[in-house]
């Protein structure tokens, strides 16, 4: 059973790390702000989500697991709101190009 959990953790965290890598490459390579934001959301939503999913079986206790999920939800909330604000600022013509 423990081996199955460990395999699950290994697989999902590797997948999460891949999305972080892809998001970072996108942030560095994409040409303008909206596409760069698009790349970043992949890292926040999928990358961190997969890492949290992978850590769930390793958490000690249900409460620690719920805290992990809450952290992911809070990051989702902050990241999506901030990307909306950045995108709105860029559309109004403000901010650095």
């Amino acid at each position: 059973m423990k081996l199955a959990f460990d395999l699950w953790t290994f697989a999902t965290i590797s997948a999460g790390a891949f999305f972080f890598l892809a998001g970072t490459v996108g942030l560095l390579r994409f040409p303008d702000t909206p596409t760069r934001l698009h790349a970043l959301t992949k890292a926040d939503n999928l990358g961190l989500g997969l890492v949290v999913l992978g850590l769930l079986p390793q958490a000690d206790g249900v409460l620690a697991g719920i805290k992990l999920v809450c952290i992911w939800l809070l990051v989702l909330l902050a990241a999506s709101s901030v990307s909306q604000l950045i995108a709105a600022t860029v559309r109004r013509g403000g901010g650095p190009r």
Binding site: L74, L77, A78, S81, Q84, L85, A88, P96
Partner: protein, 313 residues
């Protein structure tokens, strides 16, 4: 034990520090500084100093970062002009020599430390039980070295007075900062409505567990103050004019109660800031509870800035 992760974090930290120091634009340097603060918090976690990690993330990365962002935004107008100026070679050589000298002196100091380094950790743990708190860091901050914490709170007040003293004469006593114009139905207002209740719970939780686990009033107050600022920026809350009596009372209440409890210690326990052992924990909690609102006000008002709006009669 040093793991590859630690080495990776150390390399990243040094690289980020160099990048921040060499960044030409003020805003980029501030962004680097904030990331540096968060990375430094990770380092403290790896060193098992969770209290320091929380403080670094909340105050070093978060609060100082926000202060620097507003400073960079304010300097944007003059930045273009100053960036084209080149300082003379002697000045730059002097700056390099001074920085290298400080780095060298610090490394020498670290290297000549005796091994094992002198530590007060053992006597702290031995005497911690008398304070009644479970977190040794809280015991040090509010019992063994309470004078440092008292002076820290007062220093913050003096910093706030310094910020206020930059106010133009006509705005004295008025609201700090520029008037916030924000759409009450906008995205920021939505975020403030959703996040503020969660942030308040998290802030009070961090404050309350500080007695027995990592946390405490400084970290809790920073979280609560940032929620207050979020509500201000979203146009949902207005900064009070600095002339308000309740505000002035709130600003000095924490340190005054701290000093009063300290003075009472001279009678009941024989020294300033000493607590009679049976009442140590209730007194420590009373001080923490008195300092929390003061710290929230001071940190929030520090970020709100100098009074800039005229008093509306």
């Amino acid at each position: 034990m040093i793991t590859p992760v630690d080495i990776g974090i150390a390399i990243l930290l040094l690289g980020l520090a160099v990048w921040t120091a060499f960044a030409r634009a003020a805003f980029a340097a501030v962004a680097g500084f904030i990331a540096y603060g968060l990375l430094l918090a990770l380092v403290w976690v790896r060193l098992n100093a969770h209290d320091v990690a929380l403080t670094e993330a909340a105050i070093g990365g978060g609060l100082t970062g926000a202060l620097l962002i507003s400073a960079a935004a304010r300097m944007r107008r003059i930045e273009q002009a100053t960036n084209t100026e080149r300082t003379g070679l002697p000045v730059r050589l002097l700056a390099i020599a001074a920085s290298a000298g400080v780095a060298l002196a610090l490394s020498v100091c670290v290297l000549v430390l005796p091994d094992p380094a002198p530590s007060l950790a053992h006597p702290t743990v031995l005497n911690q039980e008398a304070t009644g708190v479970g977190n040794p860091v809280t015991a040090v901050l509010l019992a063994f070295r309470a004078i440092d914490t008292l002076l820290e709170a007062i220093v913050l007040l003096i910093a706030l007075i310094g910020v206020w003293s930059l106010a133009p004469e006509r705005a004295w006593g008025g609201r700090p900062g520029p008037r916030q114009v924000a759409d009450p139905n906008g995205k920021l207002a939505w975020l403030a409505r959703v996040l503020a209740p969660i942030g308040l719970v998290a802030g009070f939780y961090v404050f309350w567990v500080g007695a027995d686990f990592p946390g405490g009033k400084f970290q809790g107050a920073t979280i609560i103050a940032s929620m207050w600022l979020l509500a201000q920026m979203a146009g949902l809350a207005e900064v009070p004019p600095i002339g308000r009596t309740w505000l002035r009372v709130g600003l000095v209440a924490g340190p005054l109660i701290f000093i009063a409890i300290g003075l009472a210690g001279t009678v009941t326990a024989g020294a300033f800031l000493a607590y009679p052992v049976p009442f140590a924990k209730p007194l420590i909690i009373a001080i923490e509870m008195a300092l929390l609102p003061t710290l929230v006000l001071v940190l929030g008002l520090l970020l709100a800035g100098t009074p800039a709006q005229e008093l509306s009669k």
